[in-house]
Amino acid sequence: MSKALDVAMLIAVLIGLWQALNWYAGDVAISSPYDTTLHLIAQFERPRFWLHLAESIKAFGYALAIAWIGGIGLGVWLGAHRFAGEVAEPIVVALYSLPKVTLYPLVLLIFGLGISSKVAFGAIHGIAPVALFAMNSVRNIRPVYIKVGRTLRLTPLDAARRVLIPAALPEIATGLRLGFSLTLLGTLLGEMFASQRGLGFMIVNAIGLADTKTMMAVTLLLFIFAGTANAILLAGERALHRRV
């Protein structure tokens, strides 16, 4: 209970800071919390906004599916094959830390304007952390667990289901959460450059028109969405971590 209070207090402090920035820099640079919230609510009455939202959700959904499934597949394989993992790990790390925006023109040239570019861009952002965590989770399974599975004469399938997956799951969950955040970031960045639709486009468009209120309103929506999703994923992850 006191934790909820602490978080609420922190949110209050953040809103206070935001308001202070608004007073300092003016409405043109940064709209006030109150105006922004009203403007965000007003957006939901505009059909065009729903179009943008739907487009973003679709692109993000595809990108997330690719990042999660592809990342787990790649990570588990690299974790199980020690040498392959050692060869590939720094390459995946480098992909993780590369400013991937610079690759945007390349992605555009390959996938063309449209949703597939956004999806690809989201997925390349998200896949690296998922793969890295999945790889480490498999590497870190204590050898004694594998031995226990063998002495209990489990079939490989049973060993995977009852021993290996439960042992690796908590760390994989952490990777999935990070992958979620970064895929969202990647998809939005994708929308920002070469798309006529989606929330990312709305943001750049608003920046171009110096429409600070809309820029802030969409960003606020993203904050709330990312924050809520993260809290849910984090709760799931904690529950998994507690079991081991």
Binding site: K3, D6, V7, M9, L10, L21, A25, G26, V28, A29, I30, F83, E86, V87, A88, E89, P90, I91, V93, A94, Y96, S97, L98, P99, K100, V101, T102, L103, Y104, P105, L106, L109, I110, R177, L178, F180, S181, L182, L184, L185, L188, L189, M192, F193, G200, I203, V204, I207, A210, T212, M215, T219, L222, F223, A226, G227, A229, N230, A231, L234
Partner: protein
């Protein structure tokens, strides 16, 4: 070099060779990708002519500034937050959400605050990098085994001696992770905000070349960024591996 290192290098060289062949034979059209050798040639040209050297230097300086600030203040903030468990509990969900928000959209806000200069880019890169350092400092402090802190006490170490010779080395693996991420995020923050909105710098030059259909310059600069970040990462990876080998025995 390790066997894995040699394989890795071979793999990357093979990849570059395949691209070279594919683009030379026309399997991949030049409008999509140019041969790596052509990228290199153009990059050499850019450097030789002194073009864009200012932009590159500028970008690297921004990255370095943001990185240094993020590591130092992030480390101190981590120590401070660690000492205040309640603040820490409240902050945790925010740290977890932090990296889902595209900070670049605040560029106009930064301009309003800092004016039209290099500072907005550095500020965004700093904001991007600092949280990774804070989070990993916290992780590192959490993982100092309690018994090692006790050893420091029974040896009657002074506060500074214990901090420097026991706590810091005990937390070092996580601090190293924080530093690695801070470099990565400083790069991402700097180049991405240049790419999107600045009027100078490496990121801007790539966007500019792209908009003017100057594929050769664009790819040359892309190669530069990829190679630079890749090399820094590989170097850190090998270094960390060597340090950790003693500590973990593998």
């Amino acid at each position: 070099m390790t066997r894995a290192g040699a394989w890795r290098l071979g793999l990357l060289a093979g990849f570059a060779l395949a691209l070279e062949l594919a683009t030379r034979t026309g399997a991949i059209s030049h409008t999509i990708l140019i041969p790596p050798s052509a990228m290199l040639a153009r990059l050499a040209g850019i450097v030789a002519e002194g073009q864009l050297v200012d932009d590159i230097a500028f970008t690297l300086l921004s990255v370095l500034t943001a990185f240094a600030l993020a590591v130092s203040t992030g480390f101190l903030a981590g120590i401070g937050i660690h000492a205040l468990p309640r603040l820490r509990r409240a902050l945790d969900p925010f740290f977890a959400t932090y990296y889902a928000v595209p900070f670049f959209v605040f560029y106009p806000v930064m301009i309003a605050i800092f004016g039209l200069s290099k500072l907005p880019v550095i500020a965004i890169a700093y904001l991007f990098a600092v949280v990774a350092m804070i989070v990993n400092t916290l992780n590192g402090l959490d993982r100092i085994p309690r018994v090692l802190a006790k050893v420091a006490r029974v040896h009657r170490l002074s506060w500074a001696d214990a901090a420097w010779n026991v706590k810091l080395p005990a937390a070092a693996p996580n601090l190293f992770t924080g530093i690695k991420l801070a470099i990565a995020y400083a790069f991402i923050g700097t180049i991405a905000s240049e790419f999107i909105m600045a009027t100078s710098g490496l990121g801007y030059s790539i966007a500019y070349a792209y908009n003017n259909f100057d594929n050769r310059t664009m790819y040359a600069l892309m190669l530069f960024v990829v190679a630079l970040v890749g090399a820094i990462n590989l170097g850190l990876y090998e270094w960390e591996k060597r340090l950790m080998k003693r500590r973990t025995g593998r």
